[in-house]
Symmetry: C2
């Protein structure tokens, strides 16, 4: 299959310059284009100043829709329900099964408020409350994924968020029935066919028609990512997502076709996606390359797969599974497959990953659709410090402090010393006033 | 006290234009100055390109330190321990008591990994791991707070973060012994006397001397806030903090001096700080104003208090405690005091707040120093979507999926249908290959 030209990089973990090679293979520099940031700032400013009319203007301009009012951009619940009839019963069943499993998993994430009492009656605790209103960004066009609707909306619903509003661009009026069906199944409260930075700005600041939300979640193109970063602070956001990646640790005993296809499934997303295989058996890596060459011609998205593997993919000869785990920790992959005999053993060595797929039968693709956990995961190494989207992303924790007079008195002394050391006398006085033994206490 | 000119706004919640008045009173527009953002971008770029030498250059320039190496900017553990001897025993005891209480509260926040098994042996779960390395930004100069060291470092330690690095600017060499003592008490691993955007950039990207961190927490001036927002995505950050605020809901039966001082304690932070009182008894609001006028002349920071209260503070006549709770939910205050007879009753009506101080004896100041919960709280209404800094901010949740062959087969069908609907054939094939009943399965 030399015509397709699959030329995937191969590294050796015990070579002297492996660290440098790895850094180079992983390099990716976020939103590098300053002009995108500046365009996005202009769009946000315009939406803040002109509200609905700016949203309509940009939707005409970027999505080529001839609309003149926000009403034309709103999809009714009836319209969504109709989409449920337009898809096949098999598709409907698949969406419903996926929704059910996603709901079941996320119910395990529920957090409870808690309090504890000290011996003198003082109470300390943490109150959990859902956000009031969340915006879901649903990508349109070629990357229009009904699964993302389920993965974003259901954790928010399990968290108890009472109002969900979805935005999805429909360039030239194109709209995916499965996406609408997924919106119908989740029962999202409002849906607008808007997208891009204008939709993010409308959600963050509100317009005459759209009430501002507390948080915006969901993936999008670079404009959407830049807009989300720009409005972060005004509202919460889930993450600034970079390209998606998979890292497979294999002991060399899985059917090589399976691993080849798992690497393809990541690579087919887009040219920036990254597929990585770590294996202690060099012959097995060769076998996976053979499988890739054999299977590639059958793939519908072979051009994207080939481009992605050639530019971003790499295969690593490691000396042991322990070394593989160490390298994986350095990469902190979004998706991590443990295609090994005893995945629990490797798991104990792992510190950073978005989601871990354990055992030879657990292909990463199951997690993308229906296993249960959200497929919205930290990309590009951000699993070092962030987590899968979950129920906790839609809830807040409020600290509770209720001091008895005795505790207030005891803490007044400490507060007074520290506040006065910081030059904050009113803080000290506020505490002292509650202590009757202080000269001017009550 | 007309010389000091305390002129605090008073609103009536049942007036027709209350909503507009409230919006105006709350308006605050983040980092509005574009030149700050652009300066910060230049500093970050320079640190990424030139590493240590850029950090040294900016420290010379902005902090007026005549240093020529990173070694001169590092504080040894011995140096920190010496600070513990320089402070008074009373101060040392106060820091240690505060540290102990903060640790005890945060130990209650520990999250546990969990798994559950489905009937066919498939396992799903969530693994909790701490971050590897966290950077603490400690402000220097006039807002140099030892309490912040404790409030940032201890939750990270309870979370299990093995490496903590602190940065604190020492303009013209000025350094606060209490801050150093707090660093000694927490046992932070490395301390550098650097600050501003250059310190944030060094922590985010690393230099020859400073190893990059996974997350940066801690307050700072507008340059630090802009730098944290700029590096967000490369590393995690706690929040982009705005001005601090307190909202007091009082039933009119607390000693008015206490409430006046609580409002002062917020106002004394800086001119942008916001103090708000909601009360159903107009005569009591008058009494608090009288107390403020009486107490203001004694305050060391009376000029800041007066400027803050006049420009940002306001008092609201409400018709009931229920209405007060509703208004408070709209404001989503950082600090919320329930100075009422039955704080639990009002608590049940509250949805958004950083921390809630319940009962007449619980002055907010106790929470700033030693009650236990972190004083790093969401400001400027961001409690709508974010939470007090806590143990969970230093841990990540990784989803675990381990499918039995039977589950893999069942989910392969759903995955195949949905993946093919999305045009992602490699995803479908990866799942199908694991299903022996599929034509070309194993």
């Amino acid at each position: 299959m030399t015509l397709l030209g699959l030329q995937i990089k191969r590294l050796k973990a015990d070579s002297l310059d492996f660290d440098a090679q790895l850094s180079q293979a992983l390099a990716w520099d976020g939103i590098a284009d300053k002009s995108i940031e500046s365009n996005v700032q202009d769009i946000i400013k315009s939406v803040r100043e002109k509200g609905d009319s700016a949203v309509i203007h940009f939707t005409q301009k970027f999505d080529h829709l001839s609309v003149n009012s926000m009403a034309e951009l709103k999809l009714s619940k009836d319209y969504l329900r109709q989409a449920l009839k337009n898809i096949s019963p098999v598709q409907k069943d698949a969406l419903e099964l996926a929704a059910r499993r996603i709901r079941l998993y996320h119910q395990r994430q529920s957090q409870e408020s808690w309090i504890y009492q000290e011996s003198d009656g003082s109470v300390f605790g943490q109150k959990i409350t859902p956000m009031d209103r969340v915006g879901l960004y649903i990508p349109g066009g070629k990357a229009s994924y009904p699964s993302t609707v389920l993965m974003d909306a259901i954790p928010a619903q399990v968290a108890g968020v009472p109002e969900l509003i979805a935005v999805l661009p429909t360039p030239k009026g194109q709209c995916n029935d499965l996406v609408l069906a997924a919106l119908a199944i989740t029962g999202v409260d409002e849906v607008y066919t808007i997208g891009g930075a204008q939709a993010v700005a409308a959600l963050a600041y509100g317009t005459e028609t759209i009430k501002a939300v507390d948080k915006i979640v969901g993936p999008g193109n670079v404009y959407v990512a830049a807009a989300k970063k720009a409005v972060y602070g005004q509202v919460g956001i889930d993450m600034v997502a970079g390209p998606s990646e998979i890292l497979v640790i294999c002991d060399g005993k899985t059917n090589p076709d399976w691993i080849a296809m798992d690497l393809f499934s990541q690579a087919e997303h887009d040219e920036q996606a990254q597929s990585i295989l770590l294996c202690p058996n060099p012959n097995y890596i060769d076998a996976v390359v053979d499988s890739m060459n054999k299977l590639l011609p059958e793939m519908e998205r072979r051009d994207i797969i080939c481009a992605s593997l050639n530019s971003r993919g790499f295969l690593v000869d490691v000396t042991s599974l322990e070394q593989a785990a160490e390298i994986s920790n350095r990469i902190a992959p979004e998706h991590l497959e443990l295609s090994v005999e005893e995945p629990d053993k490797v798991l104990s060595l792992l510190r950073h990953a978005g989601a871990i797929f354990m055992g030879r039968h657990t292909s990463e693709a199951l997690g993308d659709y229906c296993a249960g956990p959200s497929h919205v995961l930290p990309t590009s190494g951000t699993a070092r410090f962030s987590s899968a989207l979950g129920v906790y992303d839609f809830q807040k924790r409020t600290s509770l402090i209720n001091c008895s007079p005795a505790t207030a008195k005891a803490l007044a002394k400490t507060t007074s010393v520290l506040a006065r050391s910081e030059g904050l006398t009113a803080h000290a006085r506020a505490a002292e006033l509650r202590d009757p033994s202080w000269p001017d206490g009550l």
